[in-house]
């Protein structure tokens, strides 16, 4: 039943084999079949990506390999063999010998994966001493070596630290070091970079790829991000609803997908060299089924564009080899007849918004937060220090356009949104909107008209709706509050309209937030924001907490509604891919300051600001036909309490000129009719000679 790949090389004997692995959780509501019959083989030194949307069973597979099931989980079928031995037949002691030494695992949240009250050094050393591999002092030496291998500076200090004393990026390196310490044959990585900033993530990804070569460890790399998988892995297995639907070499699977789901996923992510006008995203219809109500036959059949009733939804579909490529497998009855190559889409159905009418102007805007100082005087509230969350922000927002503010954590994006919305007051400068200075006008002082015209969509779908009230009540309250409608029946009518606008069934009016999925909650939040027909909507990372396919759907929804209503959108994001896709204009921020601003075309093509260049090169790209320059930044983002003098980026800049960057605030170059601004000491002509980060058509660089 299991079509394991035929041996091709001398050392082809797989180190790790899963055969028909099925795992269920036994919850109160009954059995949840999280993984149903997964077969995989991993050769020595190979790197396999496991990709799929949330809840498809990726983590469950990893934990089942380790035979660490939480209380309610159980392996109901199939075997896991490590080095030819069935892991199911091992006793506790044998299993312990394999855990950490034969197969090691790295988890998503490095901070919580480390014991907060034990030093890093001890947590690492005990791996070696408890496996009886070496004595304490040798173990300490080995630990120091491996910590140096993961490129941590000042190894002794790190070893003597407690987890909370290190940054997220450093901790992730520590955890990877812990995984590699005993030189396991297999390393399982479950979303190891998800909580990191893009530029830090790029560094960790590079590190993983490098270490794999050095240590010869086989990797199973789990991620929902197709781009990351493409960077780290040789082969990929695409999962949907507890089973593998397609498998094969990366370039094949992502370059020419055979399964409709893989193809659809690829159509859900933006490519770095096209925007919403050139290549609209194509969301997958419907939502993922819970494991317990998966449709019969093909699990994807309810959402597949190519589904044929009677063919697709009858018997379980086997995983078949695709003869035309090495090691390729696909689970679709129609794969032979389908042509899933991306077709060029009809020309953009709408016009570029090119008004130059200013709606909002930020003028030397500044927001400093006080933080308690240190020392004795601070106790009594004397001395104060400041976090400079926003400094000298200057930019304009044009009517009906989308302005994206992009930057990594701590760069002050959300602070700007809060000041704009009146949840915080500016400490200097202005934001002018229709002749009013919003920076000095907290919400409590804004009149109904102003409140109505400025609304917001928030990041976390789980916190955006009040869990105590139904969707209808919450949206209805806004309608009533803004005086759009007053009469109960008409309010209900308006709510229905709004739900319809966000493509939710009218019956959802009665649902409580916990009866909705993340994407649905975000739709309600959008309905709420648009209930009073605002003229500006600020969306703070509106899709970053969502799954790939949902993300595409919500992004498209936002674009559609914006266009219909002629709304101005201020989009805040750390995801350059998304920004490239959605924005007309872009502001790139770093540590509270604007590094570069201009139209999307200007910002995403040379001349770049060095930081923009680095950000762009860190964007994970799944498309194997796109090659790019790889720039990996050193170090971490400095704290905003104590930002570097001169150019804030100088501590990490790969193009740093020297002392001038350290000491002198960089000048602002203006090009492209003065609309494109770059704050850097490098002369403009030199910036203009930069290579574009992305190049299409050439084969992917490994």
């Amino acid at each position: 039943m299991n079509p394991v790949a035929p041996a091709t090389a001398a050392d082809a004997k797989p180190i790790l084999e899963l055969d028909g692995l099925a795992v269920s959780y036994f919850a109160r509501a009954g059995e949840v079949p999280a993984v149903t019959g997964v077969s995989l083989a991993l050769k020595r030194g190979e790197s396999l990506g496991l990709v799929g949307e949330s809840g498809c069973g990726k983590s469950t597979i990893a934990l089942a390999i380790m035979r660490h099931m939480s209380g309610s989980g159980r392996i109901v079928n199939g075997t896991v063999r490590f080095g030819g031995r069935d892991m199911g037949g091992l006793d506790a002691e044998e299993l312990r010998a394999i855990r950490g030494a034969g197969i090691a695992m790295v988890f998503q949240e490095p901070m919580s994966a480390l014991n907060p009250s034990m030093t890093i050094g001890r947590q690492l050393v005990e791996v070696l001493t408890h496996h009886g591999m070496m004595a304490e002092h040798e173990a300490r030496k080995r630990t120091a070596e491996v910590l140096a291998d993961v490129k941590l500076p000042d190894v002794d200090r790190v070893a003597a630290s407690y987890p909370h004393q290190l940054s997220g990026g450093q901790l992730q390196r520590v955890v990877i070091a812990m995984g590699l310490l005993a030189r396991p044959a297999v390393l399982l990585l479950d979303e190891p970079t998800t909580s990191l900033d893009v530029t830090v993530e790029a560094g960790v990804i590079d590190l993983i790829a490098g270490l794999r070569q050095r240590y010869g460890t086989a990797l199973v790399y789990i991620s929902h991000n197709l781009g990351l998988i493409a960077q780290v892995c040789d082969r990929v297995a695409v999962m949907y609803a507890g089973e593998i639907v397609e498998q094969g070499p990366i370039a094949d699977v992502f370059g020419r997908p055979r399964h409709p789901y893989t193809a659809a996923l690829l159509r859900c992510i933006p490519v770095p060299d096209a925007d919403k006008y050139q290549r609209p995203l194509a969301p997958i219809r419907g939502t993922v089924h819970l494991p317990q109500d998966r449709p019969p036959g093909c699990g994807f059949s309810t959402r597949c564009e190519h589904a044929v009733p009677g063919t697709c939804d009858r018997a379980p579909i086997p995983l078949e080899p695709t003869q035309d490529r090495a090691d390729g497998l696909v689970r679709c009855v129609r794969w032979r007849e389908l042509d899933l190559r991306e077709k060029p889409l009809p020309p953009a159905a709408f016009e570029r918004e090119s008004t130059e009418e200013m709606l909002l102007t930020a003028n030397e805007l500044e927001k400093h937060y006080p933080v308690p100082g240190e020392g004795w005087r601070a106790v009594m509230g004397g001395e104060r220090r400041w976090v400079k969350a926003n400094q000298n922000l200057n930019f304009r927002v044009r009517r009906k356009q989308t302005l994206a503010i992009v930057g990594e954590s701590g760069c002050g994006k959300t602070t700007f949104a809060k000041v704009l919305m009146g949840l915080e007051s500016a400490t200097g400068g202005q934001i002018v909107y229709q002749g009013v200075d919003l920076g000095a006008l907290p919400v409590a002082k804004r009149d109904a008209r102003l409140l109505r015209s400025l609304q917001m969509v928030f990041q976390n779908p789980d916190e955006t709706l009040n869990p105590s009230y139904s969707v209808g009540t919450q949206v209805g309250r806004v309608v009533r509050k803004f005086g759009v409608e007053r009469d109960a029946a008409r309010v209900r009518g308006r709510v229905r309209q709004l739900l319809e606008m966000t493509r939710l069934p009218a019956a959802f009016r009665q649902r409580l937030p916990r009866q909705l999925s993340g994407g649905q909650k975000q739709r309600v939040a959008i309905a709420r924001a648009f209930a009073g027909s605002p003229s500006v909507v600020v969306a703070d990372e509106p899709v970053s907490a969502l799954d790939v396919s949902v993300r595409a759907a919500i992004t498209e929804l936002l674009i559609d509604i914006q266009r219909e209503h002629g709304t101005t959108l201020v989009m805040i994001s750390h995801d350059l891919g998304l920004v490239r896709y959605i924005a007309d204009r872009v502001v790139v921020m770093y540590l509270g300051q604007v590094m570069e601003s201009g139209t999307a075309d200007q910002v995403f093509a040379p001349p770049y600001h060095p930081y923009t260049e680095a950000l762009l090169s860190a964007v994970p790209v799944a498309d194997p036909t796109i090659a790019r320059t790889r720039i990996v930044l050193e170090g971490e983002i400095p704290s905003a309490t104590n930002p570097p003098k001169g150019c804030p980026f100088h501590t990490r800049c790969h193009r740093k000129l020297g002392d001038i960057c350290v000491n002198v605030k960089p000048p602002e170059h203006r090009t492209g009719d003065g609309l494109h601004r770059i704050a850097c000491h490098i002369p403009l002509p030199e910036l203009e000679r930069m290579e574009p980060v992305f190049r299409r058509g050439r084969p992917a660089a490994v």
């Binding site: 660490h68 988890f107 994966a113 106790v379």
Partner: protein, 310 residues
């Protein structure tokens, strides 16, 4: 961390000052009440007037407060009408007795509740957990006043195993301590054990315990050096703060077993309306409370490296 300690010290002083103001307002504000209490209800108006004048009660309240406070601060707690000795003297004796009781209480409580709690929390939902948890709710539901009576009925009256009073008339006796300590521990260990259980169960669910297991460490080692260390931080604070709770419990058992300690002193002072004594007792409880609070905070800081190495 130094900052935090200074801050807590500052709060400690503020709380004590506020408490003294509250006590003053409650007991000393009206000279009339003071003098009636001092000279008895049958004193003449004239006697009262003279007494008030002699004792400076004609000054404005804030001056009286300051005078009262400075007397208090230097340890001049006044004279106890009930015992006819200086308040400081009887207070010291009684506090000493209760300290012995408290020492035995903690010596029994800590090992019992921590070990049971940790055992239950290790495997949440196991039968051991359920049995321990049920015992804990059950014992924590019997109020001390009921358990004194019930335990006495069984151990003292029916089985005649132990003495029914703890007045220690014939000198110090360990046997007489058993009943009061047993009652206090019985009511309280369930609470602390459940706290420990919750903390342990939470730690067992954390990713770092999973990491430790998947590193291939033996289960014993995971429990001892990864789980327990972190799980005991919360119960530590709870136990420290229990000194405050203990004062309440001690009042009941000392009353029932006629133990001559601080708890019965509070009760006697209030029943006899012995003002000076009651003031001193109340202030003592506040001092005990804020000091243990401070000790708990400092201990917490030392146990928790997140705060220690800030």
């Amino acid at each position: 961390m130094g900052r935090l300690i200074v801050r807590r010290l500052f709060y400690l002083v503020v709380t004590m000052l506020l408490a003294s103001v509250a006590l003053f307002l409650l007991f000393e504000l009206s000279p009339e009440a003071v003098v009636v209490n001092e000279l008895g209800p049958y004193s003449t108006q004239e006697q009262r007037q003279i007494w008030l004048e002699q004792n400076g009660f004609n000054r404005p309240p804030h001056e009286r407060y300051l005078a009262w406070l400075s007397r208090f601060a230097v340890g001049d707690l006044g004279h106890s009408r009930l015992f006819n000795v200086p308040v400081a003297q009887i207070l010291a004796t009684r506090l000493g007795n209760t300290a012995i009781l408290a020492a035995f209480f903690f010596a029994a409580l800590i090992p019992l509740s921590l070990s049971l709690g940790a055992l239950a929390g290790m495997k949440e939902g196991s039968w051991l957990d359920r049995v321990i948890s049920f015992i804990c709710v059950l014992t924590a539901s019997v109020p001390p006043f009921a358990s004194t009576v019930l335990l006495s009925a069984i151990l003292v009256f029916s089985l005649a195993l132990l003495p029914g009073t703890s007045s220690m008339m014939d000198g110090f006796s360990y046997r007489e301590l058993i009943m009061p300590v047993a009652v206090l521990v019985l009511y309280d260990f369930g609470y602390v054990a459940r706290m420990t259980r919750a903390s342990m169960a939470e730690v067992m669910m954390t990713p770092y315990v999973r990491t430790a297991l998947l590193k291939g460490l033996p289960y014993r080692r995971v429990i001892l050096s990864h789980a327990l260390r972190n799980a005991l931080i919360a119960p530590f604070t709870v136990i420290m703060l229990h000194v405050n709770w203990l004062v309440s419990g001690v009042i009941v058992v000392e009353f029932f077993f006629a133990f001559k300690g601080f708890g019965s002193l509070v009760l006697e002072a209030s029943l006899a309306k012995d003002l000076h004594l009651l003031e001193a007792c109340t202030m003592t409880t506040v001092v005990i409370a804020v000091c243990t609070q401070l000790a708990a905070d400092i201990g917490y800081m030392f146990l928790n490296p997140r705060i220690r190495f800030k």
